[in-house]
Symmetry: C2
């Protein structure tokens, strides 16, 4: 029986993780739950799963004896074996480090943790011999392909659905609305990830994550657009052989694998791929020109230091601005690029350096935009930033 | 340094195995060579690789001090670590058993060994804790996908190129000539395997091999036609996740993996897949009606006993008859089916039972056909056998 703490239990990944735990009562139980602003759902989850400890942004009164603790206390609690980090934004950073320092296994679904603080996170995991198991479908795929392989791979091939606008021209992209962008053709995900997926910024951040998770240089990580989202990623080995992991595009599969690892468990609620319906798998190199967010993110990863943290923060602000109709779809990547170009990076940053860079990027980006619902006042500045 | 004995060194797989050994002089050396009728090539191989022992069907005089031994003596020789069994037909059966009884690792490229005597071979390997590593691209793919996986897979998906005639109608198939059938669109292989590949009999025999190699029931082994031959096979696990092994269709890759296992070695002579050229991977269920050899072979495997040995022998005779223009392409499967229907199988056969079944099937099949180069005299008998 593995005892699980779910951070971000009311979000998309958190809810699906609880579905898995619910379906496998002989293998999994909930030791802790931490939610954000959706207090009503969190309350219901606490009532159903009866964790020993919980955390909520506003202190809840529970009738079932669950103890209110901080996320850092929760993840180092002796009753917790595996911590699922599925929080939004940078909220998972400190609890992830606390979990690793307590030697816990971290099932990592928060992109920002490794993108912002990959160097620190990987070092702490190594120091405390704690394991990070990826939950993202792409990184889970690579992790699965690497099982039983001792030699260093030659190349990682991250697949990308390409999002709903992969065939759009530059001018069509400029006119994409938030409503259109929130309708992802394949994956059911949170709003932020869905927009990042449409700009391909998400894939760039995943390249940075893959760099830290699998200790490979950026030049050994490629992106392939694969609209069917059946091949979740691939690994090429030094002898020319490749392995791919495939499956129905359903986040519950990689979530369950992160919890069952190194075993695999039968779960009748999970879908099996029907090869009568899968007739074609197509692949093409990613277009870095029409989707500059991808290149921006990979470049930020290569530059290292506090650049990736700045991009994460600027992108989060930019996605919010886009969702509230204040900047255009194609502005999102420009905002990130503009912030990177004005940032003075710190090499081998401490957690404080990273959080300072995050705060700087938010302040810098927000300063460009009025809060009165108008189009950006400094639009030309953003574009000037891009053309430097 | 692994010391390799190559049985069948003058055949297609044997020559490619020697290419690999030649390219990796720090990791591999030749301890023994055994060839068939191509004495001139065997002589050159002995001169180049200078094995300690050799076997030839007609005793060669070597100038380099290599000792003439039987294949059984060779495979149990203390200087041999890995035995590549790449002989044609049933010639590999006895040496494979001898190698396993001596605790040697067998890199198995001969289909007949497991198809004819799977039960005995698997039992001897287990008894003597000897390993069988598959060399066939499909089984190597499955073997690679199973590395690091402890749980029993849910399904194996063997891919098939479909051969050169997969879109042919029944009447077009009946008119296929040996010359057409020998031109395989993707794989460079020996003549027998190339014809079996065009009838899909080969894939059926591979299903039987997979059954024995991976201890899975026949109903858990499917065939998918995949004309690009990039995905070499797949494994579906109980949780709905699948792994595939991919690569350039080049037999040297699985041969090298069988020798490097569990490591992977860089070999600059091996091709790497270029994703700029791989744009589409297509899959479809195999057509058992137009390619009855596939169904015949799988049914023979399910029936077990001496049936698979009978099919192997009858198919070998039938392919020879087709290559000498004495029966039609579509007759090949009928010959196999006819032999199976007249055979009295022995359950859990001994090696003697298997060899007796092989001899019976050859005799039975040859009795149908005259040796004067005419079309089969008993054509109606063959067709009658099919329609029962």
């Amino acid at each position: 029986m593995k005892r699980i703490a779910v951070l971000g239990s009311t979000g998309s990944i958190g809810r699906q993780a609880l579905d898995i735990i619910h379906a496998l009562p002989d293998q999994l139980c909930v030791a802790g739950l931490a939610g954000g602003s959706n207090l009503e759902l969190l309350q219901r989850q606490i009532d159903e799963f009866r964790p020993g400890v919980f955390y909520s942004s506003v202190r809840l009164e529970t009738g079932c004896g669950a103890e209110f603790v901080s996320m850092e206390e929760m993840v180092s609690h002796p009753d917790v074996d595996v911590v699922i980090v599925a929080t939004a934004g940078k909220a998972g950073l400190s609890p992830t480090l606390a979990a690793l320092r307590a030697g816990k296994t971290v099932a990592l679904a928060s992109k920002e943790v490794l993108v912002m603080a990959g160097e620190i996170v990987v070092r702490e995991a190594s120091l405390h011999q704690a394991h990070i198991i990826p939950v993202d479908s792409e990184h889970s795929a690579i992790w699965q392909c690497l099982q039983g392989e001792d030699s260093r791979p030659r190349r990682l091939l991250l697949t990308a659905s390409g999002g709903p606008f992969y065939r759009y021209s530059q001018s069509q992209l400029a006119k994409v609305t938030p409503e259109q962008a929130l309708r992802h053709p394949v994956w059911k995900m949170g709003r932020k990830v869905t927009i990042d997926s449409a700009t391909l910024m998400n894939k760039g951040l995943e390249v940075i994550e893959a760099h830290w998770l699998f200790s490979l240089p950026f030049d050994s990580i490629s992106v392939l657009v694969h609209p069917q989202s059946i091949v979740h990623s691939m690994v090429e080995f030094t002898d020319g052989s490749l392995k791919a992991q495939l499956g129905h595009p359903d986040m519950r599969l990689p979530i369950q694998y992160a919890l069952s690892y190194p075993e695999r468990w039968t779960n009748t609620e999970l879908p099996h791929l029907d090869w009568n319906n899968v007739q074609n798998l197509s692949f093409e190199p990613a277009d870095y020109d029409r989707f500059p967010g991808l290149k921006t993110a990979v470049d930020a990863g290569k530059s290292g230091g506090t650049y990736p943290a700045v991009l994460c923060a600027a992108d989060e602000v930019a996605v919010d601005l886009f969702l509230s109709h204040r900047i255009s779809f194609t502005d999102i990547a420009r905002v990130g690029q503009g912030a990177l170009e004005h940032h003075e990076s710190v090499a081998h940053p401490s957690l404080e350096d990273i959080l300072a860079a995050d705060a700087w990027a938010r302040g810098y980006t927000e300063r460009f935009f009025s809060c009165d619902g108008e189009r950006p006042r400094h639009r030309t500045d953003v574009e000037a930033g891009r053309s430097r």
